[in-house]
Symmetry: C5
Subunit: 354 residues, 5 copies
């Protein structure tokens, strides 16, 4: 999952501004859908030809164009022409190795983000690159796959829930951002649950698999952290932005998203602390158990070595060994050996070595 940039090298040598999709193609066909709304009306349909978007640009309503699937660079270049997007921005949209960032291009603002969710197969955390372009009266969103995070916003628009239908494009962009950040909490809590379970179990089941799970969870928190810090910068930059695309009335909402981001970061840091605590506990448990084994075994050996020595003494074949002829010699040796054994055992006990 946390995996260094791939396939960027295939771009080496191409002139700047050439869009090359560097992710894996995850949907069959790239689709474009439009929702156009104001306080009273709402239109929603799929788009075949990007040029069709033109007529929405002239209207005063809020137009949200969502693109799913980034491999069709042809489609994206057409869209780029309609909305006059700089080729370097298009390149960034399809280059999935981007760090979250925000760029104010005057006529529009460009944001690139990571959406995190648990993958279907092995349950690893997967990152999907989502890009947002906020223009005067439109919002463009680009997703790698069909996701359900934006569905909440679509529902809110359709049912006119909350204040979304009364507000402008900036509020829509904020809502999308907020939905993505809120989704981080879902991943975070899932991670938190796993780590708490682990923390409870690590003393009882300090096995190699536990260690592997700790390492896996650690990688996942590192992965979240790597995406969160630039996200914080992005949202902070948006809050401080002086672009006239973002209305002043949006400030408390942006502040709110900013604080959520910090809260997520804070919790990720806490999870990291918990994980290193769990790792320490694991190491101590393993080491204690090993010590315990070695100690007990060494003690057994140590008790029997002097006893065996005594047995060896009376196994000697000297002609004149008076003890051998004593009547209770054999019994006496047994008594001595048993007393010696018990004495050593008691000594080790008192020294708290057992």
């Amino acid at each position: 999952m946390p995996r260094p940039a791939r396939r960027h090298s295939q771009k080496a040598g191409l002139p700047p501004g050439t869009p090359v999709y560097t992710g894996e193609q995850r949907v069959e066909e790239a689709t474009v859908s439009i929702i156009d709304y104001n306080e009273t009306d709402i239109h929603e349909h799929a788009v075949q030809d990007p040029a069709d978007c033109c007529r929405y640009l002239k209207r005063d309503s809020v137009t949200w164009i969502n693109v799913t699937g980034l491999h069709d660079t042809n489609l994206l270049q057409k869209l780029g022409k309609v909305f006059t997007i700089h080729p370097l921005i298009l390149e960034d949209i399809v280059n999935t190795g981007q760090r979250p960032k925000m760029e104010d291009r005057g006529a529009y603002m460009f944001m690139v983000l990571k959406m995190l969710y648990r993958g279907a197969g092995n349950g690893e955390i997967v990152a999907e690159q989502v890009s947002l372009i906020l223009g005067r009266n439109y919002v463009l969103s680009f997703q790698e796959i069909e996701g359900d995070v934006f569905d909440i916003i679509r529902d809110r628009i359709r049912t006119a829930k909350g204040r979304i239908r009364k507000m402008g494009c900036d509020y829509l962009a904020y809502s999308l951002l907020d939905a993505i950040v809120d989704n981080y909490f879902v991943v975070l809590e899932d991670l938190g649950d796993q780590i708490e379970t682990l923390q409870d179990n690590v003393i009882l089941r300090a096995e190699p698999e536990t260690l592997q799970q700790i390492h896996k969870l650690k990688r996942e928190t590192v992965f979240m952290r790597r995406n969160l810090w630039p996200l914080r910068e992005l949202v902070g930059g948006l809050e401080k932005s002086e672009s006239d695309l973002v209305d002043d009335s949006l400030a408390p909402y942006l502040r709110d998203v900013y604080e959520h981001t910090i809260q997520v970061i804070d919790n990720v840091e806490l999870l990291r602390d918990m994980l290193s605590g769990a790792l320490d506990t694991y190491m101590t448990t393993i080491s204690n158990r090993m010590n315990e084994v070695m100690k007990v075994l060494t003690i057994i050996a140590t008790i029997f070595i002097p006893l065996t020595f005594i047995a060896g003494i009376y196994g000697m074949n000297f002609e004149s060994m008076p003890e051998l002829k004593w009547r209770y010699g054999y019994a006496a040796v047994w008594v001595v050996m048993i007393l010696l054994g018990i004495g050593m055992f008691a000594f080790f006990r008192r020294k708290k070595w057992m």
Copy 2:
């Protein structure tokens, strides 16, 4: 106790500004109480209907409205309407996963803080979220449970002790803040006592429980630290604030609270140092003891192994072993073995291996 944000995920998808209480309900019923005072008069009573607070808003006296229990979002929304509080602020009040922070909203200032105290049951440090709203002529305070920290302030108002009755709303808000920060010292000293006891005992009783206690105390200092750094920012921000809700005459008092906060942080850092010192001592003690055990046991084994070898020699059944027939052969072997044993013992002693 230090536990990542919970139940935030249940909020994912709700429009921003929807208050959802994310803590555990800790009181039966939410109650609202009012203390209204100036230099000469004082009125104190419980409030049934938030709308009743209106009439205090027009007076010139200081009105302190305290809300205990945050689960009744309905009540909070009514209060919010009376005092025209932004929905996002209400959301923050009931979302107990907040980091301490301060927001200047022009008409009022909003502060969210953590009150720390030892829980009744297992004695763990518990955090309660306390929010303060400082308006023109009122202070709103929100608590999760009935606490005794604010009782000191109530007493001071009732008995007109100190200068509180002569001062305005800003001094009241400062007094509440000061009471909360002062309470940190109580928790801190309790923690400090535990750590000092631990530090003294760690050499004598280096047992797994000691380690667990070190880890518990470490988690608690980390927990305090996580709440203190944003608190410092909060108080620092308040000191530097240019809001006209805070009079200039308050500056030395705010500086004082600020320095107390730094003092607490400083002491928490010291406790952290002491704890890692205790952990080092624990580890060294454990490792020394283990080494001691292994060394003594190995030495016993090592002394007896050559002796057993000698006994083995004379246990051989060769026909022509002249020593076996010697008169004092057996005694000679004993002498040799005893001398060898003493010699090895002395050698180990001189080498300081024992």
Copy 3:
């Protein structure tokens, strides 16, 4: 490969501004080539006498002069005279121990960079110092060896691919910079591949060679990192530069290079994390294996020591040892010893010591 500055000391005592080549001579003869182009025309040829470059300085076209081989300080001083380059700059060009940096000298901008690639022989990462001087209507580039990274740019100029022929000197300098940074991705991915392979194999083949490879890769990431941080500063400085040699229209391109640099740094940091993860795994594997060995061996010894003791007992030569005369004494001892052996084995098993 990462190796402290060499041969700088031979310069100690020389007056400042004396150019001394501190690298190894890697090409036979220093060569100078010129490409002069505008949107319609292109001239390309080798230069014998640096003075010949003069006539290009008066033209309005873009002139790119590339010098390969830095050991011929005589040639460089001649070039320095033609383009009025400060002696300290010339000294920096040939002193290969430079950190990447940028200097704005008013009439020209000077940049010194490191080009990274895998060496031919042992496959170690090698750094070549590349210097760029961006003047009003010329770009000077200085390379230690003939490289193929700039060939891409040459091709683009010759075939008029992209917008390079339509743009000025600043775009040419940017293109060279971009080509170098793009090349970092190639080295990075190669490094990433090696580290991923290593990560997969480290559990199976935890051998001393694995450790050496980890250390080698670590040194290489450190080496990249040491070159990347000043590179980031360089590109950042270029972006913020207010020199009139760099046109405003270049800003998004420089921003793009800057972000690529950050992306490389980010990935190098990730590789470092992966490497320390691999090192941890290696250490744990080694330690686990060692523990496993010691434990099994100790257990074998521990089982046989009491058994040997029993055998020793009945090897004693007491006259009155009744068991010795029992008919099934011998068989009984065998039974006892086998039961004891099985019992201890079962006990160790249940304790999970085996």
Copy 4:
């Protein structure tokens, strides 16, 4: 010695500005003494009633009032009235848990510092809180105990040594500050001597006491460090202060104190480095010695185990063991065993295991 804030909690609940002495009472009775001087005259006497100080306030001469013993809060409050000192400042003077800090109160400047010295009993480093108040024509100093550091300044005033009699209050305050900082060097060198002795001895005498001493010295350096960083801030703040209580001609002197502070910090950092070096050496020595012991013991055991096996062989009671009847069988076995022993010994030697 480094010990978290004590007895602060007894203040929780008191209105701000109530002075409560939080240190241990270390002198019988609080005393107030006055030195009043100008270039020509000097008056010196003890003060019974703080109100007597009034008449000095009107004079133009420099008045230095020194208070020894902080437990008499009554006396302090009277002084506070005479010099119109803010109650919060009085509270800070007696609260010995203060961090070094400086406050500019317009009419006067307040500084709180720590004086360090070796305690009489166990030789631990003890901190005494010293507060200075610099007014228009007076300096107030507050000490917990009678110290000899200020005696140097008193002597210099009495004997008119240096320029102190020619300068104003600010120079007096600077002299007191300088005397305190100079005293840090005494503690520092004493600490340095101990650490150097330790460093030299740690290889020879790596005993548990050495470890304890390392930990003690480490705590002491940490303790110094914790007092030095805020002291540096204090002096730096004083240097940059724009108060008209501090004349510009004092600037080089303040710069000098500032540099001394940095020098002390620098040296404390060096001591820390030396201590962790000593700790590393200690750990390595302990571990080497342990390894040495284990290795030698294991080798002894290993050499004798095969020999004992051989003896065991010829202790068997088979009827047909031809070797037993050989004439030189016994001697042959001895030869074999001795050769085997020497061979193994030589092998271990060659392998450098011994």
Copy 5:
């Protein structure tokens, strides 16, 4: 060599501005020499009486006065009067515990630096304090011992090599600074050579001496680092200085020295990395070797223990042990034991325990 400030404490109590030499006296007698030059003329001679310097002060030529030996505080105070140097500056010159720093005193600039070189005796790195005072038309330099680093500059002045004779006092001061920084490279490369040799040998010769050498080299890099960071500040401050004593034309030269300083720091950091790499390798090698020894020895013991058990069995004296009477019993036991031994050996081999 890295050794905390000494003998500073003897100064405690003296009025500020009293010069006390805190180093060891390293030359017999303090000497003062003068070089006075302009583009055409040069005068060079020794000075007996500091007052003689006066006449050079009025001339327009560049006057370089070099003082060797700082113990003659009398001489220094006379010089201080001639050049009106502040007493605190004189104190700094002779206090050899100074950190490198720069002070702009308006009429002159004061710099204190450390010259590093390998000591004659044990080859440890030694620091000599060098102070420079740059005035309107003179440069004062103060050295503890006669050094050869400045001889290069003297030669350049005498032979009029480079531009030094054409430039002013600021260029002379820069040249001295540059000579000192250049000398760092000599020490650095010497250190680098030692570390590289060490790095190559550490696997082969992991002996206690190697560890000591690592620690020695580590202390030396730390020592260099401690002097380099303030040096960087010094040179950076000089570059940014707005004093009119430093001409603008000097800017590129100062920039150059600044970059050299950073280059040295960079290389020292690299050496530190290499050293900790070497330490890791050392530790791993030691631990591997120890493990190897323990493993082989344990295996030998483990193979022989079961064999000795078998021998013990047939050493028992039971009357009815049928095996003892078998004709090939003895041979059979040998076969069993050899097979068992080989079997265990093979098993350990296959498990890769040997």
